[in-house]
Symmetry: D2
Subunit: 416 residues, 4 copies
């Protein structure tokens, strides 16, 4: 990222910020924890961390803005699987041998808190580390208690809850319980099942004044009730669905095709991945959530509907976390003549996602320092389906999102 | 392209602008001529023409700025092959059957003027349609006479010379004759061979007050002598090397990799093409010119040198004008872990290039109307190696070039 | 194909053989009809016809074996869409402009006979050209009448029925009606719905002593009742599912991986196609039939089960009949180390299939001349799921199938 | 590989066979040594070793034929770089962390003998471990002494010299010194520079009665003088150029295209690799040798010349030994219509080559046991440019080569 800037008063002293992660044992979260540890012990550098090299008026961004340093992030969180993160990292196979050895002792010391899961919403991922709270309201109380304890025990200056759990199926977004704060709270008491586990966490975070980030395709805070709740409590919320591989590329290529007036006649995208996320997406309902956030980007960038936009995700184990995304794009150019582009992105899901989750924690804490409440549209650069306060169409083109983000970091007012 | 705007006084009446093309019988030029004719007779639409849908404050760009309409462009030009364009189009195989039939009668009526070629600079492309002018000075005079005749016979309001010839080898850019206007003119008289055919055309255009566009990798106007000459005569010049396929994609993807802090460890690019341009590049000297303009873009966008940046171009006949560009990109991300992207662009050289050449003619005429002399840096969006007045590093990222271009079109002052 | 041979008595005089095609208006059949016409008028050569260059002991195969010449094939058949083949060819977009013009007059003269369809078995393909025969028995009688009429009117020496219809869903192969000839005939009378339309045609052909080829994934003759019926009536049957694109490549690559002891850890295959076949496969039941015939080849060639063998087919319109098959193959080699192969086959479905269908008609007629009844295992080279008389695992490796086929053509006894 | 068989008398007792390797420190040889050690200690299995699972009449091949077991191979050899193999393995980066640890102690104990190199023939690979023998004859004597010492010290029952060195440039194959044994020996004495280092080794091996395998594109034993010498001394020789990646795939795909009568209009192949072999090929003379062995396969398999067959090899470091081969194939099918296949083989050079080198040592020793002298054409399956006794065109199709090889292993007489 390139710096861009305006003068800003500097914050004093290191700022200690907590990341409370839903899905702490997953590949993305484990990679984030390991990565921060490797950074701390000097076994890795900041490569892949988008804000690491950004400067504001020639001053490193953390110093210039008061954003927390990577070294001052403290990660804890929940997972249905209670294994320590060393075991989790072994399973995920993201770290190489040397990294596992170097981060291993620290990872062994991190054990997820009991989670508020619900097999009904995410069928292919289960585990025994479930909180003993059967109703939605009781789950909220348990999560809030975890957040308070985390803040106190770690003496945190800031705290952000980041949802990195596997995708859950969407409830009906028009369900009455999701429309107003009052209805939502009544729903919690009535154990209304249109309130999903991700919403339980989002509500708990907001209630505790904790910034909230949804890195998954789950609906989570993207309902009127929780947006209003965040605004009323002065809490920033951001989401949804981290834009890492294929969709990221799409939001890079589509603006170029538009720039050159090449009409996109069709865009076929298939993804193969073999990690826990892939398994979760074997459940058609979870897949449906994912496809929804992936599908919307093209038409809004191009300015016309692409009738043959097909997106596939298939669980395919041989390469584990090493996801592959193949795109076949059909273009029509001058004189109606056709051309094709194929893109094969052999990426690593967690290696792309973990640094984004880390930056989002730092940025959301900064937003909270700046007193910004509600949906943080300036973080759209991170997401496949950026939330907007009113459900309007967000900006999807990566380069325009970058400009908005960097301007905001440098001190420009948020908003589109 | 997206419109962007500031108020501008509208020009009145249709403006008739000539495009005098070097290499008129080539695939790009023939496609441009055929395309304009198909537009005129309503057999094709403006798809693929980047400025066709641009508006300034809600007003179509031509109307808002006084830019010539597609219908008001008149194309003529030189070629070493004196065949009429119907024959040329048959050979190139770019147009489909129906388009050949519809544009055929008009194409038959267009015959290239005798060209000022020099087998020494472009060995694999020859022909018998050569002007009887052996010295550089005599060639200049012949070209100037052609331009005057074209302007008068067609009663043109504006005239732009566009170089679409096959790539010629570079002379030593430090040759004395290329450093000052005086030295250059002395060189013309002395028939100095560091003055190449493309420079003869460029000089002749500037001397006649005709805007100049270099769409090829040849050095042409990109020498101090001709830049100074253009400035002194108040003539706009633009170049060099149209950015159509692989390099265009590179300047789209590289900014995204930088945005995400993905380090480019290596980028292997190979091109296979079977048209006359591909044949010209079988000559190692011409290839050298091409690779030079292709090589520079990555490092400047990324901000660090990519040590393994390999670019290959191979002549391969089976698909003629249907070029294929394959890229293998090696990325390093978070925790030093590696990922790969492959891009296979099965494009059509002339279909991508012809509309850019057309837009450049319109834009260069607009620049001349606006009284802008010398290097038009705001046209960098069109070129692999955008000229700068002082040889400084140009902007290469497509999205930033687009913004500069559209701002200028809408009336913002040029310059970086 | 390479010739291989043993002496054979030559047949005398041209042999006129009919191809009665189910799905005559489809892309494959239309292309076959057009191709034979273009051959007859000398507007195309035998390129792509696998047996065209085969010799037996130095004598061209037709002459050596008594196989019908391409010029002596007569094509007729059924289709739910009653349009003439010129209209069909226009829609399919397989022929180029010149070919459409040259074959057009003949194609206009060919109109499909009314078909015995059943929307229940192939939901996305419908049409109004349906025979007025509501029960299975009545349909059989109508088809038999068509065959008799065709044979007489065209004074045919031989006749083969080739199923090129869109894929229909499979009935339960264990259904009682499909187990014995008696049960099947009772089922026809009782209008048993486990008897599918493709079985109606197969039964009718056998009953008429007409050779039967199933080029589709439909179950058709591949049930005990019809195999026994063919044997008892002395009729050759062959099938099923023409092996043209991705599966053909699979049966070429997999034997090589086995030869080199490269273990296939996973094989991900996706297909995108936009013709009528693709549309038919949008129906999940038809898709199921297709995936069944595609899935079996790998394990039997490799000698071990490939756990991650995923096959996808997606309807994607931009390229019509120009199908694309993308394979991602994961290999494990020496020291357990991993390698990958990607294959992108941009093929033309009908261009690959039509010549195979033509050769099958000639070969099946030859089998009938040779008095071979029942399943023709030596034709396995043509099929994704070669039928075997007893349902045992067939040979799938293309090169071994080729040897079997050529040996049989040259006169070796059939059988494995 | 599949077994095939005829009864054979079994040899008794383990047979200890030496592999004397030219280029012992290279990636292929180091991987072979490490692999055999990992097999011995049970840290790896026989995956990737083509003959491991072959049986003759139900009996494992080694037992059935008297071929040496993997465990009974002893590897030694020469290298210009005198580092021990542990250091070499570290550099090559082929083994994973655990394999390096397990094979490390053994690898440390293996140090290459001083080599008879000649910078003139292979310019980009140099080292200090050169034998002090300046003339060709003195080099021969040194190599012979090494072979005798190796045989005695290791009490070997058989010995095979395998050339795994980097590619050297070709001398003129028509040079007089290479035509007869007498001329060759005179050339050794006269230090004739048309005798290359690889020929020195080949001659020394044959003179010592040691079987010879040339796994590289160097000319080596493929000259009349050395073939005659091998025949006269009763020594088997085999070569040349191991067929591992792209060419292997070519000899799999081309027969299939021929089988289906798909005409190959063009075949563009590019290779990128970053290991020591790749560096050696930066020398245009060495590259020339390589391209020569790669170029010949297509035309002979297809039966017609492919005019646009382009093969590129580029040195590209990011992936070291992990070579990538990309093929773009243009096919013409029925009705002259075009199709394309792209193959991207992301392979590991040494992982593919090492097991082939190991099998060749075992097989050449078996040939020697069987008393077969001269060129072993039945080993063509292993090579890009299989030697033939008389320089006639060899069989290139992988599946036919496999049949020949397996028949020979099972006891059939050699020869084509």
């Amino acid at each position: 990222m390139v710096s861009s800037a305006r003068g800003i008063e500097l914050s004093a002293g290191p700022r200690r910020v907590g990341m409370a992660v839903v899905g702490l044992g997953g590949a993305v979260a484990t990679t984030a924890v390991a990565g921060l540890e490797l950074l701390r012990v000097g076994a890795s550098d900041t490569s892949g961390l988008p804000l690491a090299g950004v400067e504001v008026d020639g001053v490193p961004v953390a110093e210039a803005t008061g954003m927390a340093d990577y070294a001052d992030l403290v990660v804890g969180g929940w997972d249905l699987d209670g294994s320590d993160l060393r075991k989790a990292a072994d399973q995920h196979g993201v770290l190489d041998h040397r990294q596992l050895e170097q981060a291993g002792p620290y990872l062994s010391s991190v054990t997820p808190w009991a989670a508020a899961g619900d097999a009904d919403f995410c069928r292919n991922v289960t585990g025994g580390n479930v909180v003993l709270a059967e109703t939605r309201r009781a789950q909220v109380d348990a999560v809030r208690a975890d957040l308070r304890r985390f803040r106190e025990e770690e003496r945190l200056d800031g705290l952000v809850l980041v949802n990195l759990a596997s995708t859950e199926r969407w409830p009906d977004p028009a369900a009455p319980a999701l429309q107003t704060v009052e209805a939502f709270e009544a729903g919690l008491d009535a154990d209304d099942r249109s309130i999903t586990p991700s919403m339980v966490y989002a509500y708990a975070a907001i209630a505790e004044g904790v910034g909230y980030v949804n890195f998954t395709p789950s609906l989570a805070a993207d309902v009127p009730a929780l947006i209003a709740f965040a605004e009323s409590r002065g809490v920033p919320v951001a989401g949804k669905d981290g834009k890492t591989g294929q969709t990221m590329m799409k939001t890079v290529l589509a603006p170029a095709f538009r720039s050159r007036s090449l009409t996109v006649e069709g865009w076929y995208s298939t993804n193969i991945l073999g990690n826990r996320d892939g398994l979760a997406l074997e459940d058609p309902d979870s897949l449906e959530s994912k496809l929804q956030t992936k599908g919307s980007v093209l038409d809004s960038i191009l300015g016309y509907p692409v009738e043959d936009h097909v997106v596939r995700i298939d669980y395919y184990r041989p390469r584990g976390d090493q996801k592959e995304a193949w795109d076949a794009i059909d273009l029509v150019g001058f004189l109606g003549q056709r051309m094709q582009v194929k893109v094969d992105f052999q990426c690593r899901d967690s290696i792309l996602a973990a640094p984004l989750a880390i930056e989002l924690a730092r940025l959301t804490d900064l937003a909270q320092q700046r007193g910004q409440a509600g949906v943080q549209t300036q973080f759209g650069w991170f997401f496949k389906a950026p939330m907007t306060p009113d459900g309007s169409t967000p900006e999807h083109a990566l380069h325009r999102q970058e400009r908005v983000l960097l301007d905001w970091v440098a001190g420009a007012p948020a908003g589109r």
